[in-house]
Amino acid sequence: MGRTLIEKIMSSHGGGDCRPGDVVWIDIDNRTARDFAGASVVGNLEKYGGDSPIADRSKTFFTFDCNVPANTIPYANNQQRIRIFARKNDLKVYDVDAGIGSHVVIEEKFARPGTTTVGTDSHLNIMGSVGAFGQGMGDVDIAYAFKTGKVWFEIPESVRVTLNGIPANGTEAKDIALAMLRRFSSHELLGKSVEIYGPWVESASLEECVTLSSLATEMGAIIAFIPPNNDVLHFFGITRDEAVYADSDAEYLEEYSLDIEGLEPLIAAPPSPTNVFNVSEKTDVKVDGVFIGSCTNGTYQDLKYAAELLKGRKVAPGVMLKVVPATRATWARLLEEGHLKDMFDAGAIVSNAGCGGCASGQIGMTGEGEVQISTSNRNFKGKQGKGNTYLAGIGTAAASAVLGRIASVHELKEVR
């Protein structure tokens, strides 16, 4: 009997002949912690780490992305505590200038297809976008991974989702992720390893794969794998033979198919990412603020697209547009190519790289009654402030910023 993608990755990382339900100790290629919970990882290692708290320095590092630079004293203290520990143990810190850790790990090509990465970020399963395993874990798990290079892992059941058809023009990866949330809610894929197939994912860019995989957490899935396609293979400079794929006779608990033919832009209304509507159903909602960025929609490609939509246009009076590139490298490229200027001229506030609107405070919070359109991944009550957050793609976010109400990218084309 063949193996699914997760079974193959786990088998090659110490899991042996593992099958769903087996609990195995797996070897972790990249062991990371961020400024959030990183200080607790340090605390655990100081308490339990003994004389050798780090198994392998070359595979272990910190990434600061939550509050960058720190805007509260407790966060500043935590970051400093991590820096001192890192200096003492000769560990690399991707400091407050670096950007979102999960993106840095891909950008640096640490998370190659078939590898394993853990960290204190619940969206680390974003590695599924490149056919690699990634998992967010708490500080105890991560401290253990720092010290031993291993974590225990219960092999989940795998399911296969085939996306049939090609969405309408102006529909993005985010809309497809929202279509999956609408179809599966947060329960149906709970605890599952998901593999996504179909013509759309085969021709998607790496950045689009990142967006789609980043919503796995909101679907309740362990991870959403996209088998490495041409763009991903090209980015890593490898061939199909060097990547890992599921066996053709692998067994899945369920095989779903989802029709995305002609799919129009979608939006998730508060209070949950599964509360999904067509953008056209919500165009009477007035907007106070728009956030473009996050690990879901903060790549170079995302922000370049936003800049192209905003170029020569103006953000509606009274609307705040906050833009946060995912990484420093993204920032640099947008700067050099003039895209940041286009967004600035349109009226955007452009922040340094980081998690932006998802972490409390990097680029402000929402107040009571405030309506925010966000390209991020969570709109739970209280997550991004007291206001009401809607989740959407870049096109919807940019169009809503210009029109001052929820709007689809198609409406923007009529505005100058």
Partner: protein
Amino acid sequence: MSVEMILKGRLWVLTENGQLFSDIDTDMIYHNAHLAVTDIDKMGQYAFGNLEGYKDFADKAQPGDLVLAGDNFGSGSSRQHAVDCFKALGVQAVIARSFGAIYKRNAINSGFPIIELPGLPDDLFSQFEIAELNLEGGNLNAGDNRYQGNPMSEVARDIYLAGGLFQYAERM
């Protein structure tokens, strides 16, 4: 906390609109405003501080209490605080129809018992009745009512008995 396989205590049945409360995410359990706290003893006061209807939980909880919820308890972020805040209050265990994957790991690693009762009806158990949770058997009993769920997994049991992941590793 003593290491027992049968836990007896007062049951908090968390409900929303008459149904077991589902999708209680980590921001409702332990809000991100308090994430910079690293001292476990200071986390108890924030437990359920953002959960509609239960914001006074920390004041009313008593050591030995058990917490019962619906589906997907602890979805959301990876914060260990969302487990540790219950330990700080002396809550013995959380029971739910299902748990978010990361929450489950965090609870197991810190030796905090959680039990899944898939398919549990909304009204089988009542608020504040005294209940008995059998970790080994995976069942919850109160009065004449009994519900059979999933027994604790072997890894979870071993780590729980050791008192946490690091303590477990020392014995390996």
